[in-house]
């Protein structure tokens, strides 16, 4: 298996190439740009036989992606932040139209003020749109997860679009050694797209349509049912991927040293790497702490969260975004998931790393200590620069 030293963005591009993507409608935005530049290079060199559509906005990128997918092509695109937000209307359309587009997202904060640095506000804001949402920690995970995403998205029981997110700059632009699958492995894992039930030239039919109150709810139920089937299909796809490449990344929420932990921190994206090294350092000092990596945000891994709650009493959630008027998204969803559960551990929401603020080992250590000593507010904006006390945020 060839190993290359590449950035997270290059890993996205390699995966799209290996997936034999047929149409790439793309519009640049920092820090996603090197994904679409790499793909442009692949296409220009003849290595990748895709139609590269140089759209004039992200909104048009998603529109072109949907129509291309509706005609039967395999589609990949990428965006970030303001661009992803601009696509919002069409993210709903892509899932409702059951077009299995895969999109790489370079997680980036939203304006104003304009920021090119990372947080998860952009993808968290899309959690209602019916897209499968996956977060990657490493370049290896990016290349593997994008390929798995195609397989899951295109599965006849699913037919939903999927986004694979990576932290802007921290992952998009840092280089690591990555085992890139061979084309032969990718072809074995990902067959050509099956395209029945969509638009066919020469066959009359209208895709999209309009409807009154009589059946709209039933169409939405179909999307809900498809999303509910994702965990099973995802597990199947990752198992098959493991058989072919000998790699898997542990399912929707892999656990690290949680079995006898007094406190566990839930993280998403590259903060996981930092948190893992803090877990090891604290364990060396005799503190029993653990880590749960939230890889899949949609569908939300309720089973895995309830399982975690049954083995640990204190769960901290590192949210790299905030839902104004409520709490951090992962915290909200974990709390909701545990509402009916017999296991009700202490939950703490740690808002950190917004706008690219560095999440250091000190930051993470503080979170674990806060969990272990039980002091501190329910929601804490860690490292926030302020002089006065605040009553609450949510």
């Amino acid at each position: 298996m060839p190993q290359v030293v590449i950035s997270g963005n290059s890993a996205q591009a390699y995966a799209a190439k290996l997936a034999r993507v047929q149409v790439v409608p793309a519009y640049p935005i920092t820090p996603q740009t090197t994904i679409i530049e790499k793909i442009a290079d692949f296409v220009a060199s003849g290595e990748m036989k895709a139609q590269y559509v140089k759209v004039e906005s992200e909104h048009s990128a998603m529109a072109a992606g949907i129509s291309a997918a509706a005609l039967g092509a395999r589609v990949y695109t990428a965006s970030s932040s303001q661009g992803l937000l601009l696509m919002h209307e069409l993210l709903h359309w892509a899932s409702g139209a059951r077009t299995p587009i895969v999109m790489g997202v370079a997680n980036r904060a939203v304006a104003p003020p304009l920021s090119i640095w990372t947080d998860h506000t952009d993808t968290i804001s899309q959690r209602d749109t019916g897209w499968i949402q996956l977060y990657a920690e490493s370049g290896q995970e990016v290349v593997d997860t994008v390929l798995v995403a195609f397989r899951v998205a295109e599965h006849p029981e699913i037919l939903l679009p999927a986004m694979v997110a990576e932290d802007g700059f921290y992952l998009t632009h840092t280089v690591e050694p990555v085992d890139v699958p061979t084309q032969e492995q990718a072809d074995r894992f990902l067959p050509p797209r099956k395209t029945s039930g969509l638009l066919t030239p020469g066959v009359a039919g209208r895709y999209g349509s309009y409807i009154g109150p009589d059946l709209h709810m039933e169409f939405r139920a179909k999307v809900a049912e498809a999303m509910a089937r994702v965990p099973r299909i995802f597990a199947m796809a990752e198992e098959e991927y493991r058989r072919i490449t000998k790699r898997d990344h542990g399912g929707p929420m892999p656990l690290y040293r949680c079995d006898d932990a007094d406190a566990v921190l839930v993280t998403m994206g590259t903060a996981t790497t930092t948190a893992r090294s803090v877990v090891d350092a604290m364990r060396d000092k005799g503190e029993k702490v653990g880590l749960a990596k939230l890889r899949m945000f949609r569908p939300f891994p309720a089973d895995q969260v309830r399982e975690l709650a049954s083995i640990v009493d204190r769960i901290g959630i590192l949210d790299r975004s905030f839902t104004f008027g409520a709490t951090g998204a992962a915290h909200t969803e974990i709390a909701a998931t545990l509402y009916g559960s017999p296991h009700r551990p202490m939950l703490r929401d740690f808002i950190a790393g917004l706008g690219g603020r560095d999440i250091t080992p000190q930051t993470v250590t503080h979170m674990f200590e806060s969990l272990l000593n039980g002091r501190g507010p329910e929601i804490e904006w860690v490292g926030l620069k302020r002089r006065t006390e605040v009553i609450g945020y949510g």
Partner: protein
Amino acid sequence: MKSYETVEDLPDGPLAALEAVVNTGSWRTFRPVIDRAACTKCNVCWKFCPDVAISLDGEGFPVVSLEACKGCGICAEECKPGAITLVAEE
């Protein structure tokens, strides 16, 4: 003809493929009546019907589909020989 009533009946994606069920004739307040004696078979009425409600029979005379015709009156207006009259529906 397939009917769509429950979730199970629906296709995966919103693909509509049934032919239109023609009942727009019920919209009419006036219907066109063709005087074959005056008709010169010029085809203008066929040409200008927005509802594809006029077809041409074996002899070349226009025939109005009363299931489709909305009574817009374009055919009567455009008929140069004045072979089409609009008659009020009861």
